[in-house]
């Protein structure tokens, strides 16, 4: 029975032609609400979604690998995911497509303690490195290591799940990868430990969009209009945040009292410059290049055409 539900697609698809009515959208975040999700929270709070005829429900998962599956299965309409993951998922045959960008630069860094003897990535040879989500992160790290002349076999990879910062400040690992530059650095500072970051795009990895919106390719055409309106609302919210950073922070923390922490505040300001100003716009070259990069590294079986990976909702 449950499977029938999965196959039947989003419930709202039926009354789609009635555009005057508000459309409900279920959007799953990649992880717990944090400043990276600011445009969504603000758009929700300030009624931008509503103004665009959308009734958006934001849901956070505990496991970032879940949202793409739910989108692919038609359980939710849209999810926030990561560009590198998208390439793998499309390669695996998941009917996913990027419909927008939330954060337009990589956030990924490899992080070590500033008081450690690791001055550059070359020094990672023989060290242990923690990571939280397997797969792409390993590929990216290996690329960075090789770029710095370190053989991937020379480091010990430890899956520390989501305890990146504690593992590092607790000195259970020498470095962590897959940390976010806007968040983990602030987190470390909060605990009084200075961190040193190695930026992924400076260490031989092609640049990419860290956070993207993905949707189900099979139902895309039916929902194109709603998604377009969604991106417009996000764009408005982003602009508003950039214009009113302090007011934005107040609004953000008011949305959930649990968000009001010093780390979040710091991360808030760190994140603002990284939001995509035109969420719907697509830099096709980026996707093409990253696809080639992954193929080269043997992570995907074949190169998918750009149209399978991403659409530009702003193009008619």
């Amino acid at each position: 029975l449950a499977l029938v539900l999965i196959a039947s697609g989003p419930a709202w698809a039926a009354d789609d032609d009635d555009t005057t009515q508000t459309t409900s959208l279920k959007v799953m975040l990649d992880w717990y609400t944090n400043p990276s999700h600011a445009p969504l929270v603000i758009a929700q709070q300030r009624g931008f979604f509503e103004r665009h005829g959308l009734d958006v429900e934001l849901i956070s998962p505990a496991d970032p690998s879940v949202p793409p599956k739910l989108v692919a299965a038609g359980k939710i309409d849209m999810a926030i995911s990561y560009q590198p993951q998208l390439h793998l998922q499309v390669d695996q045959g998941l009917p996913l497509v990027r419909v927008g960008t939330l954060i337009a630069t990589p956030l990924n860094i490899t992080l070590v303690r500033a008081d450690s003897d690791i001055e550059s990535m070359e020094d990672l040879a023989g060290k242990s490195i923690g990571y939280s989500v397997g797969g792409v992160e390993e590929v990216l790290l290996n690329t960075m290591l090789e770029h710095n002349g370190v053989a991937p076999e020379d480091v010990e990879m430890v899956n520390v799940n989501f305890a990146l910062t504690p593992a590092l400040i607790g000195e259970k690992v020498d470095a962590v990868t897959g940390a976010f530059r806007n968040f983990e650095l602030a987190q470390m500072a909060q605990e009084g430990v200075k961190g040193r970051a190695f930026y992924i795009e400076e260490e031989g990895v092609p640049t990419y969009d860290e956070l993207i919106f993905i949707a189900n390719r099979d139902t895309l055409d039916a929902n194109r209009d709603a998604y377009t309106r969604f991106m417009a609302a996000v764009e408005e919210a982003t602009a508003w945040i950039i214009n009113h950073p302090d007011e934005g922070w107040k609004a953000f923390k008011a949305s959930d009292p649990a968000l009001d922490t010093p780390v979040n505040k710091k991360a808030w300001y760190n994140t603002i410059p990284r939001f995509a100003l035109r969420p719907a716009a697509l830099d096709g070259h980026r996707y093409d290049a990253f696809e080639s990069f992954l193929l080269e590294r043997g992570q995907i079986k074949a190169k998918s055409p750009l149209s399978r990976l991403a659409v530009d909702l702003s193009q008619p």
Binding site: K69, F162, T165, P257, A258
Partner: protein, 255 residues
Amino acid sequence: MSVLKRLWPALLGILSILGLWQVLVVVTGVPGYVLPSPLSVMQAFASHQQLLWHHAGITVIEIVAGLLIGCISGLGTALALARFHGLRRTLLPILLISQAVPLFALAPILMLWLGYGMTAKIVMATLIIYFPVASTCYDGLRQTPQGWLDLAQTLGADRRRRLLRIQLPAALPALASGMRMAASAAPIGAVIGEWVGSSQGLGYLMLDANARMQVDLMFAALLILVTFGVALYFTTDAVMRRLMPWHEDRIGATS
């Protein structure tokens, strides 16, 4: 009240744990993101009260529903296994296998099927409780002294009545043991469910707080959860004792 009296040693235990914990934190100087002091947990508790109670309410509903459904279906399975010889050959191994599967592995699938609402969490809590109850009850049902079974036979009992009027009451002490354990496992079930996908409940709050390194808030949520788990244990214990007025533990349980 005897319930209060029964809860008293538990409270004492909690207090002594708290004391030990505070001493540990002070003495070892363990950083707050690893183990916050009970005082800072209390502070977090106080400053997030509303948030905590809101999430606690949801989790409690999940736990109680899971416990009830789990116990009833576990008992039902045990009875069915004891009643129908044929079932045993096929159902028992399946049961076993279902228990050996780490449920969290299946959680994403469950979520896909059941959505991320309360149902999925109740199902998780139910599943976690279900097997221990089914297993202990079934073990209990199998230990009926032969003499009573003989008696049932000569008195012309059918299998159903023999099961319900002889084997089941005879298994009650074993069953109580299983239920007590299930009661203390129920919170875990609900929390796992919440971890896998939800935006409400203590489990969500804990993961969320953990991810934000608000470890004190996480521990405050944990504290509620633990208190509730312990209360549930003693409630179950009291209920089971009420069900067995003829039975006495040889060594008082908590006295």
